[in-house]
């Protein structure tokens, strides 16, 4: 095995190789932080890990002096509710629109042009409209996320619906099924794992819209906080928040993947028994 293209690391080596860039990055950061703090102890750009833990302590485990709330948890809760509502509503709408347009040619002919146009509108460009029409409260943020990811989910579900072999639809008809029975018993159950896939793929965009909306108009939330403390160059707060957002994004993706695995055994490649 001389050629690089044929070299394959073992599992253990593979895991260690993956850690190397992360460790190097961490070491570089620590060295940079130490150098800057040695020069100027009041430097804010690259805080030390001690400063991080103090900031986390202050944000997460001490009540705010002004409001008496534990800001970190309040921010997390507000953001997750907005994200959950936005993504949840978008998935539900996307499922209904996608299945109906995918399965029924008449509905597809009726709504496809509209869906294509809507999916091409940059969601952030209509954020001012949402603020004007819906006000600056929770609703406009949830609607931004919904509008932002719904067309993607709907179009993906539409394609997946059309990919169901026509043999199955014909077979169901020869068993006597009517249209609603085909939708509910043949198409919908087979689309559910695809819906979870589409939702997982849209989570990144959903976080983007959430943080953008919170950055512009909000009084709490993870995105609001990092843009607020930016004014004080509070990297000791921003970086832990970014790490926390990353972890939340990873966990929500993992939970959805797990749900899909547990709820749809027929969709696994190994074809498990019920």
């Amino acid at each position: 095995m001389e050629r690089w293209i044929n070299k394959r690391p073992s599992r253990a080596v593979s895991g260690m190789l993956g850690l190397i860039p992360l460790i190097i990055l961490l070491l570089l950061y620590m060295a940079g932080s130490e150098a800057r703090l040695a020069e100027n102890p009041a430097d804010k750009l690259l805080p030390s890990f001690e400063q991080f833990s103090q900031a986390i302590e202050r944000m997460a485990f001490e009540p705010s002096k002004r409001t008496g709330e534990y800001l970190f948890w309040v921010d997390t809760q507000s953001s997750l509710i907005r994200l959950g509502l936005g993504v949840g509503i978008a998935s539900l709408l996307g499922l209904v629109v996608g299945v109906l347009t995918g399965a029924l040619p008449v509905v597809r002919a009726l709504f496809n042009p509209l869906l294509t146009v809507v999916s091409l509108i940059p969601p952030l460009a209509i954020l001012p409209i949402l603020f004007i029409v819906l006000g600056l409260g929770e609703l406009s943020k949830v609607v931004l996320i919904t509008i932002g990811v719904m067309p993607f989910i709907a179009r993906d579900i539409q394609r997946r619906t059309q990919e169901i072999p026509s043999e199955q639809i014909i077979k169901a008809q020869t068993l006597g099924a009517n249209t609603s029975q085909i939708l509910l018993r043949i198409i919908l159950p087979q689309i559910m794992p695809r819906l979870i896939d589409a939702t997982r793929l849209s989570l990144g965009a959903a976080w983007l819209f959430l943080i953008a909306a919170e950055a512009i108009v909000s009084t709490d939330g993870l995105g609001y906080r990092i843009f607020l403390v930016r004014r004080y160059l509070a990297m000791d707060v921003i970086l832990p928040y970014v790490a926390w957002i990353t972890l939340l994004a990873f966990l929500s993706d993992w939970v959805l993947a797990k749900i899909s695995y547990l709820c749809f055994p027929w969709d696994r490649l190994d074809g498990a028994e019920r």
Binding site: P165, I170, T174, G176, A177, N178, F264, R274
Partner: protein, 257 residues
Amino acid sequence: MIEIDRVWKSYGDNTVLEDISLTVKEGEFVTMVGASGCGKSTFLNLLLGTQTVSRGELRLDGKPIVAEPGPDRGIVFQQYSVFPHMTVLDNVMAAPALAQKGITGHLFGAARASAKREAEAMLERVGLVASAQQYPSSLSGGMRQRLAIAQALTAKPRILLLDEPFGALDPGIRNDMHVLLRDLWRSLGLTVFMVTHDLKEGFSLGSRLWVFDKRRHDPHAPNAYGAQVTYDLPLSKMSEESYMQTLQGLGSSSLLN
């Protein structure tokens, strides 16, 4: 029972089937062979109702066949005939569940219990009882086609349409399937139409063999003429000798080229 009255099928200038007139009685088992692209699958689709005739008429009991798949005509395709998200048992129970009126297509209570008994009896018959709780993805190709047949027959169709159902199976398993199919055909009194590209299967399985081929051929316009049924052979009385003669006769046609 089925009258095929001067049926033509064409797509634009491309004539696929040309002036076919035949009659099929209840309980016949018609196997259809022919070169690929000769229109035998198109003919099956006309019977199924997914395509409509261009000229002529297809009648079932004197009435034109509904141009939409329905419960009087069961179908087994080469693949994708079963529902991957249902267990083997649920796949068979889907037949009575989808046959009832209603929105959801689910069975409840006593109806469900009796459907389950019926489905289990059918699985017993096709030899799938041990796999009742498995999903189709974990079944072998032969088992999946057994399931597809069981599912189609649970809906109690009068006509069973088979579109190269055993084309993807190993020869040994194919023989088992032939035994099963003949047994079901005889005991249920079905009328069966089967498309196959396996000549031997076509000759040995049914009670009547149709060979689809083009009678006329224009080399400058290969699509100008459609296929017809060039041989219509009763198979039950056929001896080994006439079988060989027919095979030789077919050798001159495009079928075996």
